[in-house]
Symmetry: C2
Subunit: 464 residues, 2 copies
């Protein structure tokens, strides 16, 4: 029996104890956004520190301006530092629980329930996000240590307590502790599976340019009865310009926009084709049916590997009930572009600004606010990290993992890239129906058990 098989057997044999340890963590009310739970957050950090110390991590609770961070180091001594070194990220804080009346049982009294025949889940605030997920990794470490006496790779743990309130103190912490956090790559367990039987690796994060533009015309609001037909109307101007951002084929018309957008690798295309994700399935859930991206692209490419342009907000003139014949003095919009590959956010922000200015009547003005500006992040398709994780997940689930992009932002991944110069592998076992951030949050027992086993396999794979 290989070491890995022994580790997996150990996990299965000790499942109840692992659930008990997760329950102990779930009982701690670490609501980070509510100051009333400050002491509970410290207690949770201390609890975690003690737990990972028991596995052999050199662990400490480290202060920040907000809730503390738990750090742990497990480094093999004496082989000249040649082993791979991974930085694991998770968070111990949870969302508030209101409205409490909608919970079927108290949110901080974890229990196991059958959510449908033959399908058991752990119910509690944080069961999935992110206590359950973080514990899949920690339990995998514990099992390796129990079976082999050590971990197969060097590991630094970073478990923060402010993810649910924006990780406001984490970038400064990472910056201040760069040397200590330095590793070969990061592992993050805070994402989901494709579906209940299909694991997923989030290997790309779309970047973003988020711009706000205000068009100014006359120096006051005008009466359209007097000035209508002669005076520039900033809403007319704004709609005409923004209406020209994309052509009939769904292509975005900012000059230079597609520079650095790479063709989707054929492996990824094949993976995605196998998913048979139809517009009916994906868009049908929100009452739509027609993908709006570039003609000739598959739906999944549109949401994963192609850049976008969305107007997220627009306002100007009279917006109350009834009618008012005003030509307003200004009109505004918020416009965002999600970026992929090597698109340069600065160039795109500049191209957007020029696109507007080039089309502006000479007696109007435009003012800009630059809200966000981040590059896409991508694990190359041939990255050993990605390939080893794929193999490990395939072995565990009997099904190749889907390699997906995340549109939602995971800022820590950008921080790791920028401050530590390392890529991140995002693997998680959440499901769409986990009610994360809502009452009756749950984590499938299958996610927990196979999640632990998955990490055990990934750690083994990364060691070789």
């Amino acid at each position: 029996m290989s070491e890995l098989d022994q580790v997996l057997s150990h996990l299965d044999a000790n499942l109840d104890a692992a659930v008990e340890r997760l329950f102990a963590l779930l009982r701690l009310q670490s609501i980070s956004t509510d100051p009333a739970y400050k002491a509970e957050c410290v207690k949770t950090a201390e609890h975690l520190r003690a737990d990972v110390a028991s596995i052999g991590f050199e662990a400490s609770v480290r202060p920040t301006k907000g809730h503390p961070v738990v750090m742990g180091h497990a480094k093999h001594k004496g082989n000249g530092g040649k082993r791979p070194h991974l930085l694991f990220y998770g968070h111990y804080d949870v969302q508030p629980v209101d409205p409490l009346s909608l919970w079927h049982s108290p949110p901080f009294e974890p229990r196991i329930a059958e959510v449908e025949p033959g399908r058991k889940a752990i119910l509690a605030r944080g069961a999935c996000d992110d206590k359950g997920q973080a514990m899949t990794f920690i339990e995998a470490c514990r099992a390796w240590k129990a079976v082999t006496g050590s971990l197969p790779v060097d590991i630094t743990l970073l478990v923060e307590g402010e993810e649910e309130c924006g990780s406001i103190n984490l970038p400064a912490f990472v910056e201040a502790n760069k040397a200590e956090l330095k590793a070969d790559a990061a592992l993050v367990c805070d994402t989901g599976m494709w579906d209940r039987s299909t694991p997923a690796i989030t290997s790309t994060l779309r970047g973003m340019v988020y711009e706000e533009v205000k068009i100014k015309a006359a120096d006051r609001d005008l009466h359209s009865g007097i000035f209508g037909g002669a005076a520039a109307n900033p809403i007319n101007v704004l709609t005409r310009i923004l209406g020209g951002l994309r052509n009939e084929e769904g292509r975005i018309l900012l000059p230079g926009f597609y520079e650095g957008v790479h063709e989707t690798p054929s492996q990824l295309k094949a993976d995605w084709a196998a998913l048979k994700l139809t517009p009916e399935q994906f868009l049908g859930q929100v009452g739509l049916s027609l993908p709006v991206g570039e003609k000739g692209r598959e739906l999944i490419e549109m949401i994963q590997s192609r850049p976008t342009c969305d107007i997220n907000g627009i306002w100007g003139g009279y917006t109350g009930e009834g009618s008012k014949t005003v030509i307003p003095s200004e009109a505004s919009a918020k416009v965002s572009f999600r970026l992929v590959g090597d698109q340069d956010p600065k160039k795109i922000a500049a191209s957007f600004e020029k696109f507007i200015r080039d089309r502006l009547p000479a007696d109007c003005k435009a003012a800009f606010i630059h809200h966000t500006n981040s590059r896409a992040l991508e694990l190359p398709a041939d990255s050993p990290l990605l390939m080893k994780a794929r193999e490990a997940l395939l072995s565990e689930w009997g099904k190749a993992p889907v390699t997906i992009g995340s549109g939602g932002s995971v800022p820590i991944v950008g921080d790791f890239k920028r401050m530590l110069g390392i890529d991140s592998l995002l693997v998680g076992f959440g499901l769409d129906d986990d009610r994360v951030h809502s009452p009756n949050e749950k984590y499938d027992m299958s996610s927990f058990q196979h999640g632990m086993r998955s990490w055990a396999r990934i750690l083994g794979a990364l060691a070789s």
Copy 2:
């Protein structure tokens, strides 16, 4: 000396008495919008009734659901009803006076002051709007009566007390008294001059179609990180469609939109050309310089005789501070078209709706609110009413009147057309610097004196 010359001399000789009568009217605090002045409005109506009765009008104060209307009839008996019959419209109510602290003298204590060397004006709330203007007509009638013993035409007076709060009860009053109000045409004195030395006739009123459209896409707000690139964004859709309402030449692209738009008559074009109204003059006052109407048209045509398309309001998505990566479920806009000539508002509203629906993605919906729907009103360039008034004003001012269109709505004119089937001639002597609705409202003595003389001439001209 002709009868008219005698009437004009009588007006000049009795100017002081006319000013005294206007002062008496101005002392009455007929603020219609404030219930505290209800009794004062009744008193003002009663005062006016008595005044016009003293000229020989069969006069009465008539109740409405709000402030009363003053009605007066002066009909020549015994010639078989062959004389022209004019309906005069004015209003005795005034705007509130706040902020009182900005008035240089009490608003209801009229006085004459020199506003610049050699230029005298009457100062009081209502001095121009509309007590002073209405009295120019009534004094002209008084002078005709004094000199000749009768009026040269049959006249019905209609002076309401709710114009400053939207004339809410007037349409019902007109409808209920159609037979009594029936006349050949209406005369309205509530408009302005072109400038201090140039009289003006307002002969066209642009009509209006005012539509509100809401584009609905997904059945909930979406996260652009998940759905961006695939899901229809109603703001993108709205801006693309509305941005296509006009082409680069300023032409409005709704099918059939220009049906019924007539070429500006050459007489009018000549009049307008003589005014030499430059974009710098007209748009410069509000910080603009470039007319946005149809290429090849003069500025004055754009604001007087050509139809328009203005987006008066737009809203959707996130409009607060900062950024939010939402794809909203809906986006809305208010869009108005000012109409001229024989443009059919119903057809244009339908064409707008079709324009939107034709361009809507099949999985989006559009909902419409029809706010306003009124035809343009126009005195034909060869109307005898218009031609006689032109001659009369030319004689009085030594300068041909400018025939202009009003963009602002004068709803009573539409009511007269619709309910009584008659055209309206709008002549008034207000000036741009009269501070109507503001503190220190004034009416130039020149406007008052030449206004009275102008109406005396017009009445004489209409008799022939």
